[in-house]
Amino acid sequence: MGRNGVADWLVQRLTAVVLGVYTLWFVGVLLCTPDMDYAAWRGLFAPLWVKGFSLLALLSVVAHAWVGLWTVSTDYFRPTWLRLVFQLTCALVLGYYLLWGIQILRSA
């Protein structure tokens, strides 16, 4: 990531579409489920397609955030060490979110 501008550009747009659709679906589910309790919440994530859709959204968050934050860091952080620390922090946090999210989806 970060060496081909066409790929980065496409990744940002495609992941934005995925996240937009996921957000609409998720808000729709919440609005249509006034009595959301633990059982209903577990039931929501039980179907395999919801797990797959959620994993796709999670991967989209990671890819979208990485391209965006990498771009921001190369614009605004002049000292190389500061830029690398920021990028490493982003990579670690996003990687942690991804693994944590996969673990949650596997146990759902």
Partner: protein, 234 residues
């Protein structure tokens, strides 16, 4: 009229400063900013700026007037000094050599990088390489650029990465040769622009369009280049 002008002489000044001067403008007359700069120079002959044609053709007197880049020779004072005070600074983002004169090396390096000339290794026929009127029409709005640098120096992406982002002026010229039916180096040109900085650092904020003294639209040209890159990748 009160005029505030950016002064910096690296040989004698520790830091840049703004010099305030009063200029008498004849009643009922609206001078161009360049005329005011000449009146300032009559008061203080150490003031340094570039100028040549004084009619918006050579592009040498690009400056920042009350916060907006433009050519001093074709910008009426009444257009920029709406509050009654004229503030003149050098083009932002480039190193200042002295007063209003900036070092344009990075700007020209980006221009050189896009290879601003026709590349065609097909044998010549002894006459010009002809174009249809439709093919020639595609160059309108592109070839008129005078390289004044008003656009690139108003672009934050160029401020942050002047060594890697080509900038609106260079990209307008890049598309001028990509769109030319006589050029045969499309693949080579696109290959050199596909990295994340050269073209894709443009965020489409259109500062370039807002300041271009020739009324050109670099953002549209950048959009065309981006489309060509995406078509090539698909």
């Amino acid at each position: 009229m009160q005029v505030s002008v950016y002064r910096y002489n690296p040989d004698s000044d520790n830091a840049p400063y703004m010099q305030d001067l009063e200029v008498d403008i004849p009643a009922g007359r609206d001078l161009m900013v360049l005329d005011v700069m000449h009146l300032l120079k009559e008061q203080d002959e150490t003031l340094v700026f570039r100028r040549s044609c004084r009619e918006g053709v050579c592009g040498s007197d690009g400056v920042n007037m009350n916060g907006k880049n433009g050519l001093a020779c074709v910008t009426p004072v009444s257009e920029v000094a709406t509050s009654g005070k004229l503030v003149i600074r050098p083009l932002p983002g480039l190193p200042v050599i002295r007063d209003l004169v900036v070092d344009m090396s990075m700007f020209y390096a980006q221009y050189e990088r896009i290879q601003p000339y026709l590349m065609n290794d097909e044998p010549t026929t002894g006459i010009e390489r002809l174009q249809s009127p439709e093919e020639r029409e595609k160059l309108d709005g592109l070839y008129e650029c005078i390289l004044c640098a008003c656009c690139s120096t108003s672009c934050p992406s160029f401020w942050w990465n002047p060594d890697r982002f080509v900038g609106p002026a260079g990209l307008l010229q890049a598309y001028r040769f990509l769109a030319d039916s006589r050029d045969r180096a499309t693949e080579e040109r696109l290959s050199s622009l596909q990295d994340p900085f050269s073209v894709f650092r443009c965020r489409g904020i259109m500062n370039c369009v807002n300041v271009c003294p020739k009324g050109l639209n670099p953002t549209r040209a950048i959009g065309h280049i981006r489309s060509m890159l995406l078509r090539r990748a698909s």
